[in-house]
């Protein structure tokens, strides 16, 4: 999570493509919820959210809240749509959940009085970011999948 944050804060100007860069912290937290379940994933989401709060100029707590929201939504969607045993396909949830993450953050910022151009931001920031996150997830998820296998090898069958 810390590596993802460091990459996001250091590489964002380099990997920025037409105003947007991928939300690596969200990608990692979401992948971890899919791979390790809500309980552990939620902790990583909270750590990721807090670290975003500490390194961002946004009101404190905004990203902790949105990250927890994304973690919970990931877990529910994973369970209801794909079933808990399916580990690869749920990574596609990054597309709608990126909208949720950035949309919720923008909504809270607007409620707190920040001027928001909804049309432009959704069309030129939130939507491209969702697709960028999906593309990055395609490469990141298999890596995290194998990392998870290394950390916790599959249990032998009982027969």
């Amino acid at each position: 999570m810390i590596i993802a944050l460091l990459l996001q804060t250091t590489l964002s100007p380099i990997i920025k493509f037409n105003l947007v860069h991928p939300d690596l912290v969200v990608i990692v937290a979401m992948a971890w919820v899919i791979l390790r379940g809500l309980e552990e994933g939620l902790m990583y989401a909270l750590v990721g959210g807090l670290s975003l709060d500490f390194t961002s100029g946004a009101p404190f707590g905004l990203f902790s809240f949105t990250m927890v929201l994304v973690a919970v939504a990931t877990s529910i969607a994973h369970n209801r749509i794909f079933g808990l045993n399916n580990k690869m396909l749920p990574s596609s949830l990054i597309l709608p959940l990126s909208f949720l993450f950035n949309g919720a953050a923008l909504l809270i910022l607007a409620i707190l009085g920040r001027p928001v151009e909804w049309d432009f931001t959704v069309a030129n920031i939130i939507t491209p970011a969702a697709f960028y996150n999906t593309a990055v997830m395609l490469f990141t998820f298999p890596l995290l999948y194998f990392l998870n296998r290394l950390l916790e090898p599959p249990q032998p069958l009982p027969f």
Binding site: S12, P13, S56, P115, E117
Partner: protein, 260 residues
């Protein structure tokens, strides 16, 4: 040579030839190997040297660039002696950028211990960057001009028309509240007006690229190209001598005093 000796020699010669040939081959191969090893060692030595030179070259180029930037800043400070400056560098080139896609903040490696305070204006030799919004002991957070929550009182250099420059999420600037009737043309330079007391006057903000004028509106609006490249900020100047005026606070204080 006796017949026995001759017979032995005859038998041995082919063997000797074979052995000699083999040994010569082995020797040859060994020598070749030695040559290859020497060459390999030489190649790796040259590679190391080339890498070292490349790194030195990159370092020299970076130093040259930094030198050029500092020269420009020095010229700027010499030509604008009314302020005192606290030079600062952004922590690295990319570290210290806001991690989200929705906000435009940068972080610099100087803070309260260097005399930086909240609301101090931040500039480069090209113009206004923004203002300090939060200060830590050794770091400061800067709200960039292009952030949608940023607003600066400005004036157009040629026509002296005033307005407010606001940031746009697309990284451009918009100047609104320009009174109708004022002549605004593309290419005009926009400066800080100093009104409001948040920024010193005459700092360059940008250049007008498009004028949006509708007769039914109360004000005109203009799109600006910022003079500063906000995506390539390296060395910034924090104007430490300028004291921003907090009107609201002063009014409240004066009201309190009047009340007492």
């Amino acid at each position: 040579m006796s017949p026995v000796q001759a017979m032995v020699q005859t038998t041995l010669v082919p063997l000797q030839r074979v052995i000699t040939t083999l040994s010569q081959d082995v020797l040859h191969v060994t020598e070749q190997n030695r040559d290859v090893k020497t060459l390999q060692a030489r190649v790796s030595e040259l590679e190391t040297q080339a890498n070292k030179l490349m790194v030195e070259n990159v370092q020299l180029r970076e130093m040259g660039r930094e030198n050029e930037l500092l020269r420009q800043l020095l010229n700027y400070t010499k030509n604008n002696t009314q302020f005192s400056y606290q030079p600062t560098t952004i922590i690295g080139r990319t570290v210290g950028v806001d991690p989200t896609n929705l906000l435009y903040f940068v972080y610099v490696d100087v803070g309260a211990s260097d005399g930086v305070a909240k609301n101090m204006p931040v500039i480069t030799e090209r113009g206004l960057v923004g203002r300090v919004t939060a200060v830590g002991p050794n770091s400061a957070q800067i709200l960039m001009l292009i952030d949608p929550s940023s607003a600066v009182n400005a004036l157009i250099q040629n026509g002296r028309a005033t307005g407010i420059v606001r940031g746009n999420i697309d990284g451009t600037l918009m100047m609104d509240r320009i009174p109708q009737g004022e002549t605004v043309t593309t290419g005009d330079i926009v400066l800080t007006s100093g009104l409001g007391g948040n920024f010193p006057s005459k700092l360059v903000i940008g250049q007008i690229t498009e004028v949006l004028q509708h007769d039914q509106d109360m004000f005109q609006t203009a799109r600006l190209r910022p003079s500063v490249d906000f995506y390539k900020l390296e060395i910034l100047l924090i104007v430490t001598a300028f004291q921003p005026i907090d009107f609201e606070k002063e009014i409240l204080e004066s009201q309190k005093e009047t009340g007492n």
